[in-house]
Each structure stands twice: as C-alpha cells, then as structure tokens.
Amino acid sequence: DQQVKQNSPSLSVQEGRISILNCDYTNSMFDYFLWYKKYPAEGPTFLISISSIKDKNEDGRFTVFLNKSAKHLSLHIVPSQPGDSAVYFCAAVGMDSNYQLIWGAGTKLIIKP
C-alpha cells in the first residue's frame, strides 16, 4: 500500500516555463513533507520541505504547496532551467511512520531547450 504516490512517471516542460510536480498521500498523520532531487548516478539531494501547519513554502525558484484537505502537495519550479532535469521524489514523515521517510516513486522531469 503506497502511502505516498507520484502518479506521473515523467514530465516534459519547455525551458523558461513552469514545472509542476504532484504528490498525493493517504496518511493524514504525516506532518512533514520533503522534496528531493536526484541526478543519474548520484544520491538524492534535499530540495525543499514544508510542515503540515503551513500551506506554502518558497525558496528561490522552488515553491511547495500543501493542500491538507486534499492530501496533496505540489512542487512548482519557475522558470524551469535545463539543470532542473532530474528525478524528483516526494517524501513524507510523521509520528505514525515512526519518523521514517515514506517515499514516492519519483517523477522524471525533462526540461526541453
């Protein structure tokens, strides 16, 4: 049973446009959400996070939105750059998961020049 789902295996976006990556979760006890970025042959690197008490967190070109009622979060990248091409993982954590990170399957983002 996947508690964190990223339903789009891949996403292709034109350079300069907005990239929107989506993530859904089923466990209402999650209280912290993170996005990681992964290049081929490298480990995941932390990108941005959001606490469940907030609905938005912004860091430069990256903004994460959280809709608790819909159990949905999204990562917005604007403007998209070629270096953003990577696999993006959504992860969630909470007391219910014993503070283990529960990971989505990832979305491969391809930025077209």
């Binding site: 912290y32 480990g43 995941p44 932390f46 993982f89 283990q100 990170l101 399957a105």
Partner: protein, 114 residues
C-alpha cells in the same frame, strides 16, 4: 568535503559471495540509514542506526547485516549474495537537533550480482 560517502561506487560479484559496502558521514549526525532502490525506483528503508544502536530493522533477509563501529560509520555486509540483491544501495544520515527530518544521502553503490 563529501558529507556522506560510500565505497565502492560499483560492485560486480558472483552469486554466493559475501561483500561489504562502507558508509561514512562527516556531518556529526546521530542517525544513519541504509536504503535499497529497487527496479521500480522505490527507495525502501532497510536499516536505521541511532548512536550505534539499531532502531529500525525492516523485513530484510538476515543475510544483510549492518555494522556500526562508531556513529560516523554504518557498513552493510551481505552474505551469500543472490541475483535479486542487484540494486542501488544508498546510505543516508540525519541530525537529531530540533525537528530535523532532512536526510543527506551518499552517492549510492550499484551492486550487480551475476
């Protein structure tokens, strides 16, 4: 300076062999993890160590044994390797100050069992 390092980066071996993967972090973190990324790209936690004590042991075969000589190191030993063990293994670490849930990952070890 690499925050979380793993060696080797690539490991090709025969079925039935015993191998080890090493992990070191220089972040002063108290908690370290081993993950396995399967063929579907899911990251599955295998083990977690906090201050040299095992605190999570997911249902992995007992052929896998983590060993932590000190809190900066968490090594993974695998006995009697099987074809299905082929995967990418990631080490990660996490601080325990305040509400720190960010995990820092090593570059991964690509294990291929022939």
């Amino acid at each position: 300076d690499t925050a979380v390092s793993q060696t080797p980066k690539y490991l090709v071996t025969q079925m039935g062999n015993d191998k080890s993967i090493k992990c070191e972090q220089n972040l002063g973190h108290d908690t370290m993890y081993w993950y396995k990324q399967d063929s579907k790209k899911f990251l599955k936690i295998m083990f977690s160590y906090n201050n040299k004590e095992l605190i999570i042991n997911e249902t992995v075969p007992n052929r896998f044994s983590p060993k932590s000589p000190d809190k900066a190191h968490l090594n993974l030993h695998i006995n009697s390797l099987e074809l299905g063990d082929s995967a990418v293994y990631f080490c990660a670490s996490k601080g325990t100050n305040a509400y720190q849930e960010t995990q820092y990952f090593g570059p991964g070890t690509r294990l291929l069992v022939l």
